[in-house]
Structures are given as C-alpha cells and as structure tokens.
C-alpha cells in the first residue's frame, strides 16, 4: 500500500500563476477524481507529477510514502512508478501498435529492439484494456476510442503503481466511455492508484473513491465520494450556486421558410438524409460514433465527402458549395471537432486566431489589404469577454491555453463571422460545467436573435437539453426526428441503434 502525495505545489508561467498551492493525496487501489474549471490547473498539476515540469521549475514537494521525489524528467517519474495519459492523444500514426506501446522504454538487447518480447507483452497489455487488435498493425487505423484505450495500455506498459488519466473520456461516445471506465475499474482492482481528471461528473461519481476540487490553482476540497453530491462539487468548482445548466425551453413557433434545407442528400457516407433548420431554431443531430454526423456537416460545408445526389437549399436558393470560403461567405460556420488539428493556429495569439476567418471575409480590411488594428482589437475583446476566455490577455499564445479555453477560442472565431447558420461539431468537448451552462445560454441567445443552429453531440443530455428538435442518424441514414419537449434519452437511443438491436441493449444497460 503506497501513498503518493503532493504538498503545497506552486507553479508560475510567464505572466500567469497556474497553481497557487495545491495539495493532493492518492493511495494504491484508489481512484481519485480531480475536478475543476477549465484553466484551474489540473493538467499542469499532473504534468508536475509526471516529470514533464522537472524538479526546480515549481515550488512544493512530491513524496512517495513520505520519501521526497525529485524528477529531472519524464523517465524519472516512470522509474518511480508513475504513468500518465495526457489530455491530448499522442499516438504516433507512423508506428505500429506495439511500437507505440513501448515508445520511450523499449525492451532491448544492446540497443536492438526485442520485437518478439514486445509483441508478447503487447498482447497482454492489449488484453488488459480489452483492445482486440494485432500488435503489429498500424496505429493510424484505430478509432478515437481505440486510440484512447491504446494510450491507457501504453501507460500501463511500464507497470506503474500510479496512473494519471487526464480527461480520458472527453472524446468518446457513451459506449466507449463505459469501456474505458471498466478498464479503469480493473486497473484499480489490481492495486494501481489512479488520478482521473474529468468534466463529466456522472462518470466521476460512478468510478471515483474520492474527489478533489481545485479552483484557480488552489485546493478547495477533498471528499470521500459518498460524502458529497454533484451539486456540492459543482458549487466548489465554480464558486457559486449553479442549478440547471440547460436554458429553459419554449416551444418554437415556426412561421418562416427554413433557412437551411437539405433534401435527400447522399454522399459516400450518408444516404438519403433530409432535414431543415429555421431561423431561431436549434437542431440536434444524434447518433453513434461512425453514424455519419460529422461527415454530414462537412459535406454541406464543402470539406467532406462529395455530394452525389440530393440538394441543399440555403435561404430558399439552391446552394452548391464549392469551397469552405464560399460557404463562410454565404453565412455558414462550422465549429470543427478536433480543435488542435482543424480549429487553431496553435502558435498564434488568441486575437489572431479569433479574427482569422472574419478577416478572410474582408471584415476590417481597408483598400489594398491593410488591416484596421483598432477595430479588430475591439471586436476580439468583446468576444473574449462574452465567452469568458480564461487567459492573461488577447495576446496569449493559444498553445498555452487549457483545453477548454482553446475550444472557446475556436467558437469565438466563428461567431466573429456573424453566421446565419452555425454548425457545431461536439462543441463542449472538454469544457467544464460552469462554462457549459454559459455556452448553452449563449447559443440559445444567438438562436433567439435569429441564428439557425445545428449541433452534433455524442452526449444525449446535451442534444436533448439544448435543441428544439433532434435528428437521429444511424449508419448514415436518417432514422427519424423527435421533439425534445417530449423526447427521452431512451427514445433517441432506440432510433440511433435501430439497425443494430443488440447494440442498443448494451448501450442502454
């Protein structure tokens, strides 16, 4: 029975104090949930624990069973028995599964990789996380859920005594989440101590033994799981009372023509899908992973599979999308799913990112391509305030922002273009509860001002809570639409798995 402890950790970045005195304790065979708002300092704390920020770059003490730990780098923490699954997936697609698993601590004889023994151990590790793939197959072919399991297997490959999981479930579908939670449960039974960061409080209460809350880089509370409640955790996280995060719903009286209408759309992925969105309406699109939700949005927007048949009408006119620029110019906006890859220019500042698209449209651009700096600044500032982006200033580099705040920057970039129809693809991935409530309210307000919104989400409560109607896709086909005033998660799920009955039992169980 080992105990890992962090005492009064303080960590400064140029211009920001990320941690201002946090203490934490976790023992073998226990799952500690670490909760806090975006930018509270969770990932930073875990990076200290795993040696990414070496000894000396922070104040405070790390101890294992009372003995102090000094990490000069990541290998030191691995040697001490601490492994981490980082917030951002870090699978290397060029390498095979087993090469990924042992990267950084290969089994070797005189510098030569012992591929056979790695293959053997890979099979064990993959079994341990329930991943049924060949160790020599290419890592590039895995789905996001499988990649996450592979990351966990990779962290286990050094036989850690403590495992840190930084938002392991944020990118996963409910079914995959269950799988990951089961795996964590198993790891815990084997005596490994786990620290898990998550913004999904249901799963925290499902799996954790204790829960620690930090806010603005300071420890707020530490409770046994049965001594606290969701409401209390939320209150500790955001520092105020927060009731229903979903804005109140009212029946929409649709008078106008639909602003966006899709008729019998068929591409390589989706088959014969029709739907319409009106001004002021929020349409949800639900479905399992791989049901073609994102692809549908991308096809309309002009960045996805080619439209083979069917038509899209925008503001009553036939809309043939030639390129994303054209779509944006017409008034469409697409908040993409993968913020790091598709959403941000990571080495540029918040302002540069958030004004990028609008500038391409010619806003604030004077004759001869010169930019009006003051006007841009003002607009960027407005959205910065509106979205409560937590960063030292508009000039902060987006790479250094916490995951949730990066997501907000992507959103601000699209709101800046003043779209008529807004597509949101998994918009709240990695966003904390408090910010989520504000975000929902914001979307609702925008809709009330006449924006049409289409939101794709894997989280059923979110789709149901936010939208007026929900279109359910399964294997690229539209299975039906439900009114959210009357719908239940079960009724949506039933449609989502219509073609696969057994699947549904598993998921709803």
């Amino acid at each position: 029975m080992a105990t890992l402890q962090m005492q009064d950790i303080i960590k400064d970045f140029p211009g920001v104090r990320a941690l201002g005195g946090v203490s934490l304790r976790v023992s073998s065979g226990e799952v500690l949930a670490l909760c806090g708002e975006n930018g509270a300092g969770k990932s930073t704390l875990m990076k200290i624990l795993s040696g990414v920020y070496p000894h000396g770059s922070f104040a405070g003490e790390l101890t294992l069973d009372g003995k102090p730990l000094y990490f000069r780098g990541i290998p030191d923490s691995v040697r001490a028995g601490i492994s981490i699954v980082h917030q951002e997936l870090s699978i290397i697609p060029e390498l095979s599964i087993s090469e990924n698993l042992f990267l950084g601590h290969e089994t070797s004889v005189f510098g030569f990789v012992n591929a056979a023994s790695e293959a053997r151990r890979s099979v064990d590790l993959l079994n341990r996380v329930g991943l049924n793939v060949h160790p020599d197959s290419n890592a590039a072919n895995l789905s996001v859920g499988e990649q996450q399991l592979l990351e966990i297997a990779k962290a286990l490959s050094s036989n850690p005594k403590f495992l840190i999981l930084d938002e392991p479930t944020s990118a996963l579908s409910p079914k995959e989440v269950q799988k990951v939670l089961q795996v964590i449960e198993g790891i815990k039974k084997q005596g490994v101590g786990c620290v898990m960061i998550s913004h999904k409080l249901e799963e925290v209460f499902e799996i954790a033994d204790a829960i620690a809350v930090i806010r603005d880089g300071i420890s707020i509370s530490w409770n046994k799981i049965h001594e606290t409640k969701t409401e209390q955790v939320i209150r500790e996280m955001v520092g105020r009372e927060l009731n229903d995060i979903y804005p109140e719903k009212h029946r929409l009286t649709v008078l106008s023509e639909p602003i966006l209408e899709v008729r019998n759309l068929t591409t390589r992925v989706v088959k014969d899908v029709s739907f319409s969105v009106h001004r002021g309406e929020i349409l949800g699109i639900a479905g399992l992973m791989g049901s073609g939700r994102s692809e549908l949005l991308h096809s309309i927007f002009g960045t996805g599979p080619k439209i083979q048949s069917g038509e899209v009408r925008f503001e009553g006119r036939r809309f043939i999308c030639k390129s994303p620029v054209e779509s944006v110019r017409q008034g469409l906006a697409l908040v993409t799913e993968d913020r790091k890859r598709l959403g941000l220019v990571l080495d540029q500042s918040i302002q540069e990112n958030s004004t990028l698209t609008a500038m391409c449209l010619g806003q604030w651009v004077r004759a001869m391509g010169f930019i009006q700096p003051a006007a841009i600044r003002k607009r960027a500032e407005e959205l910065f305030e509106l979205l409560h982006i937590k960063a030292p200033s508009l000039d902060a580099i987006t790479r250094n922002l916490s995951g949730g705040n990066q997501q907000k920057v992507v959103l601000s970039k699209w709101l800046m273009t003043l779209p008529k129809v807004l597509f949101l693809d998994e918009p709240t991935r990695g966003i904390d509860v408090g910010a989520r409530g504000e975000f929902y309210q914001l979307i609702r307000d925008l809709a009330d001002q006449g924006l049409g919104v289409v939101v794709v989400s894997s989280e059923l409560p979110e789709v149901l809570g936010l939208s007026h109607r929900v279109l359910v896709l399964s294997e690229g086909r539209a299975m039906g639409e439900v009114e959210t005033l009357t719908a239940t998660p079960e009724s949506v799920m039933r449609l989502a798995v219509k073609t696969k009955k057994d699947d549904w039992k598993e998921t709803s169980a």
Partner: protein, 374 residues
C-alpha cells in the same frame, strides 16, 4: 504494402529510363562498363542520401553536406599529402573531423533550437570557405596508396562472393532467429517480414553480383555504400534509436512526452550525417585522385532529391534507406545517361529538376486524397 507498391513503381520507372537511354546512346548505356561506372559515381550520392533519410525523417534538413564533403576531402588530401600522415591516420582525422563538424551543427539544432535550415545553410557557406582556405584555393592531389584504392579499385570475384555469402547467412539467420523468437512467445510474426521478401532480396543481390563479376567485380565505393545502407537499415528498423527517430518525426511532442530523449537523438543524427559526409569525401577524393575546394557542388540537393524520389516525406516520420538507394540510382542514371547522350548541360539541369518535381507530384497524386476531417 504501400511502400512495396512504391518501390515497384520506382523499379519500373528506372527500367524505363534505362531503356530510353540505351536506345538514345545506341547501346552504350547498358554496357557493363558504363553500368559499373554509373554505380561507382552514384556511391557518393548514395552514402549521403542514406544519412539524409534520417535527417529528413526528423523533420530537419542538412544543406551543408556538399560543402562539407569538399572541406573534408581537402583535409584528407592535405593531411595525407602535405603533412605526411599515414593513409590510416589521414582517414581517421577525416572521419573525426566529419563527426565533430556534424555534431556542432547537431548541437545548434537540438539545444538552442536554431532551425536546421539556417544552421546548415550557414555550414554550407562556412565549409566551402574553409575548403578554399585549407587548400589556398588550389587542387591538392592524393598520393596513390590503399586510400586511393577506396575510390578506384574493385573487389575480386572471391571477395564479392564472400561478402555475398556473409550477407546471405546474416539475413537468413536473422530471419529464422526472429521467427523462432516469435514462435517461443506464441505471437504471429509481423506480416511485413515474409520469407519471400528476404529471398527476393538475396536473388536480386546475387544476380547483380554475377553481372559485376562478369566485368571487373564490385567497385569498392559501391561496396562501401551498400555496407553503409545495410547497417543503417538495420539501425533504423531494429534498434531503439532508429525507432525513436521515426517516432520523433511522426509527432515530436508525443515522443517527448513518452520519455524519448529527443535532443540527444537529433544531435546524434547530425553527427552521423557528418561522419557519412566524411566517408563520402574519402570516396570522392580517392576516385578523382585529388581534392579541390569546389568539389561536391550541389551534392546536398542530389542527396535530398534521392530521398524524396525514394518516398521520404519532408513532413517527417516516413522514409526508407532502400527508397533512397533507388532514388539515387534514378538521379545518377539521369546524370550519366544525359552526358553520355551529349545533352547540353543546361538541359541536364532542367531535366533533373523536372523529374524531381514530377516524381513527387505523382507520388502525392497516387495517394488517396484525404478529406479534411478523416
């Protein structure tokens, strides 16, 4: 699979180029004498390209190798001819100097993180200047000794056969040992390690050996190049070091977070590139018989072009040394064929440039266009 397809299409392209040149030159191109010459000339590019693959895989580039080859060549000649050091000491001094200069560049790239493009662009100018300085801008002849044989001699038929058997035994033994290792841990062998590949490789080598032995034997520079390529392939595919280099190229941040010592890896890669430049300098100087400060002009571009034609990705993470060998063969076939056909020099430049761009274009076009979110 994709790599194999690429290699196959390159072999076909190569055969086409050869047939065309053979027609144009009225049959001289494919004569054993010319082929032997061609591969001998190719050795320098090939040696440099095999190191360049690793540099490119790391998402870096080394523009200094052409000048470095010239500088190291002058060191070799000056030390051997003017200072009177023995051939062996001169060789050692040259190799050491190569490693040292490579590691200085590697240090600047890895630690202060100056972009490799800049560091090696600086190196390109500095080494060229240094070569002029060491020779006072004249040509320094290399005395005849076993050292100059490294550029001009041939392996005898028995030596060639011995080398071939050595390789064959090594490959087959390696294959069976690995097969046994996989069997003992009860895991299926990776599909890319098929017996047919090993046998095909051996058969091709065997045929090449027979052809060479029909003429004078394997030219020594070619033997040196092939040995280096074999060793580096082994290093790239089977050692921890090689695997980590490819991982760093695929995703540097992830590699760093996985505990790969990224700085020392790239430092060592540049050092290796320096040593290989020294080997190339020795071969080139020995072949020409003298060192001149303007030797090896544009060699860096030939080396990079060979890698890229051979399928190395400039975005890092992908590239094989075997591909670079084929690429170097293409480049050198063009060089040799065009001068044999008495083409005007300006056309030679235009054709080489065009082939490079078109080759990469076709390679990209053959890959399926990815959708943005795929």
């Amino acid at each position: 699979m994709k790599d194999k397809l690429r290699a196959l299409s390159m072999v076909i392209a190569l055969v086409l180029i050869w047939i065309v040149f053979d027609r144009v030159t009225g049959g001289t191109f494919l004569q054993p004498r010319n082929i032997s010459n061609l591969v001998r000339q190719m050795a320098v590019t090939g040696i440099l390209a095999s190191g360049m693959v690793l540099v490119l895989v790391l998402r870096h580039v080394d523009l200094s190798v052409g000048s470095l080859v010239a500088f190291l060549g002058t060191i070799l000649a000056v030390v051997n001819a003017q200072w009177g050091l023995s051939p062996l000491s001169a060789l050692m001094v040259t190799l050491l100097a190569g490693g040292l200069l490579g590691s200085i560049q590697g240090f600047l790239v890895s630690f202060p993180k100056i972009p490799a493009f800049i560091v090696t662009l600086g190196g390109m100018l500095i080494f060229r200047g240094a070569a002029m300085w060491t020779t006072s801008n004249t040509t320094v002849p290399l005395p005849t000794s076993w050292l100059s044989d490294l550029g001009t001699a041939y392996l005898s038929a028995t030596q060639g056969l011995t080398a071939f058997s050595g390789v064959a035994i090594f490959l087959l033994l390696g294959f069976f040992l690995r097969a046994r290792a996989y069997k003992s841990v009860n895991v299926p062998r990776p599909s890319n390690e098929s017996f047919t590949t090993t046998i095909t490789a051996l058969v091709v080598c065997g045929i090449a050996l027979l052809l060479f032995n029909n003429y004078n034997g394997i030219p020594v520079p070619v033997f040196i190049m092939l040995s280096i390529m074999a060793i580096l392939t082994l290093v790239a595919r089977r050692t921890v070091w090689g695997r980590q280099v490819y991982a760093m190229g695929g995703n540097p941040e992830a590699a760093y977070l996985s505990g790969v010592p990224v700085h020392s890896r790239s430092l060592l890669t540049f050092t290796l590139m320096g040593v290989l430049s020294a080997v190339a300098a020795v071969v080139l100087t020995a072949r020409v018989g003298s060192a001149s400060p303007d030797a090896g002009q544009l060699l860096e571009l030939d080396a990079i072009a060979s890698c890229v034609i051979g399928g190395t990705s400039l975005r890092g993470g992908r590239g094989t040394i075997f591909g670079a060998l084929l690429g170097a063969l293409v480049m050198e076939s063009l060089n040799n064929g065009m001068s044999l056909a008495n083409m005007e020099p300006f056309w030679q430049f235009v054709v080489k440039g065009g082939v490079l761009v078109v080759a990469v274009w076709m390679d990209l076009a053959s890959q399926k266009q990815k959708e943005v979110f795929a």
